[in-house]
Symmetry: C2
Subunit: 313 residues, 2 copies
């Protein structure tokens, strides 16, 4: 039996030799991982989770996970979502998901937690059905709390949150974010940014929230880098939007360090709309690249790239 | 010149060959420390901070810190307070505290942060002037967030927060907490517990707040252990108070693991009342041990022990 990592249709949950699609919710401390995606000789989140699944299911080679947000090295997640298609051996109770979840959870290292495992609703696809990715970037300009040093950037100068929010407003909406993306051949950089805003929490940590249909590579960290430059007064609030309009990467934009970034949630449509959403996303994937200059009114365009895999941060 | 770790009177902030008392606010990740207090061959918070101070001040042997809460191995702090008496070389500006603070902060390792350093108000003593210690214990009965695994206990069974709060009420007030303390020769175990309460935060983590004039050794973790036993339904809510009245350590009480515990704040009276507070605390120290059975109405009794040093957790 061939297990495809890219099956368009989730298998029915029962049946001889069929496949059942599992939705897997994960959280992890990205500090000691070389990111989500498998790389030879590197410790990655995908490899660790896939190995645990393979051990419990006695399946070799491992079943491959499809993920909503392909986080970079050092980036954390509290709300990552993936799916995997698992072969059934027949019968309605061929897969005891709760038992499988307990056993997989027991095999995971301390820096990865299995938050939930369930049989996915019909039409679910962790990557192509997603309509939104939510990230949070933590940065502090006061003396940092050592207990949060793994997921909070320490900034050595005072930051003006009002100026950062003013700047962030200029990036909202649908744009070509080429100025903020590490380019990938054949991949579009048009995204719809639903939220980009900063607020101090009870511990004086500045939490920058970033929500979009999807993000291109390095986009969140580049936008945060631009906001930090504004926040410390080195550039005016209009600067990040000026860069956006220029449409090319500017060496003045620093990519903020990965350890401040956490994928906090992935949004999906109601179950009844999952299949339509996946079909629409996949259809777009087969279209030629669209001009990045056009203003496409509605609906938001989640994943247009030919070779994008997941939603890198 | 002899630098005393136990000077009753802070030195005036100026003057040839005098001493200036500095208040030092610290936070630390206790994971990789063998607690606060110096121990030969162990990495401790006191040793790390004292070494940084000695390096900057070029003072050998190191000046010793007096601390409000002498945390155990693995216990964290976000609001620890200490003081140190530093020799001045004369003149009003003999000590540039801001510069000293920056240099010390720059020498501290990543798991300790200098939150503040200032010339202490007259009469200040980090240990003897303190009127309250505030601890927080974090425990989760849902899938733990790997990013918080260093300061949050993972509990494998559901916890009933209502039952825990009912139980906690039975421990409030002034009591002999011998049932919850690791005994120390000559040390009283009478304390006044101002708050002991549990609440789930936005991430479903149960945060148990414990506030007292001071805590005896292992007291917070023993009380938390009893509350967890109640929370999972193995004992009734009346059990922790029954233990308290029995007045002896009960092997059924588990001391909760240290890594869930954080010293979050130390309370002091207004500046004008510091000296009186220190005098009262010191006076009590010279009294013979009081009977643990007596009910002492007012005021709260902060530090009665002969050989207590700081406020162990």
């Amino acid at each position: 039996m061939t297990i495809s990592n890219d099956a368009t249709e989730p298998a029915a949950p029962t049946g001889d030799g069929g496949l059942v699609r599992l939705r897997i919710d994960l959280s992890y401390d990205g500090t000691d991982f070389s990111g989500w995606a498998r790389q030879p000789g590197r410790r990655t989140v995908a490899e660790v989770v896939e190995t645990a699944l393979a051990t419990v299911l006695q399946f070799d080679p491992p079943l491959l996970l499809t993920v909503a947000g392909r986080t970079d090295a050092g980036v954390h997640a509290t709300g990552q979502v993936a799916h995997v298609d698992v072969p059934t051996l027949g019968g309605d109770d061929a897969i005891d998901v709760d038992r499988l979840a307990r056993r997989v959870a027991g095999l995971l290292p301390a820096d990865v937690a299995l938050r939930a495992m369930m049989i996915a609703p019909a039409g679910f696809d962790a990557r192509f059905a997603a309509i939104g990715r939510r990230y949070a970037y933590r940065v502090t300009d006061v003396e940092p709390n050592p207990l949060r040093r793994r997921d909070t950037l320490a900034w050595p100068r005072p930051l003006d949150v009002e100026a950062m929010n003013q700047a962030a407003k200029g990036l909202l909406g649908e744009h070509d974010f080429a100025a903020y993306c590490r380019p990938r051949a054949g991949a579009t950089t048009i995204r719809t940014l639903h939220d980009l805003s900063a607020a101090r929490d009870a511990d004086e940590v500045i939490v920058i929230s970033a929500v979009a249909d999807a993000f291109c590579h390095n986009q969140v960290r580049s936008m945060v880098g631009a906001l930090l430059t504004v926040g410390e007064g080195r550039r005016p609030s209009a600067w990040p939007a000026d860069l956006l309009r220029a449409g090319v990467r500017d060496p003045a934009v620093n990519v903020a360090p990965s350890h401040g970034l956490t994928l906090v949630a992935v949004d999906y449509p109601p179950d009844g709309e999952l299949a339509a959403r996946v079909a629409r996303t996949r259809q777009r994937r087969t279209l030629p690249d669209r001009s990045p200059s056009g203003a496409h009114p509605t609906p938001p365009h989640p994943v247009r790239a030919h070779n994008r895999r997941g939603s890198p941060s």
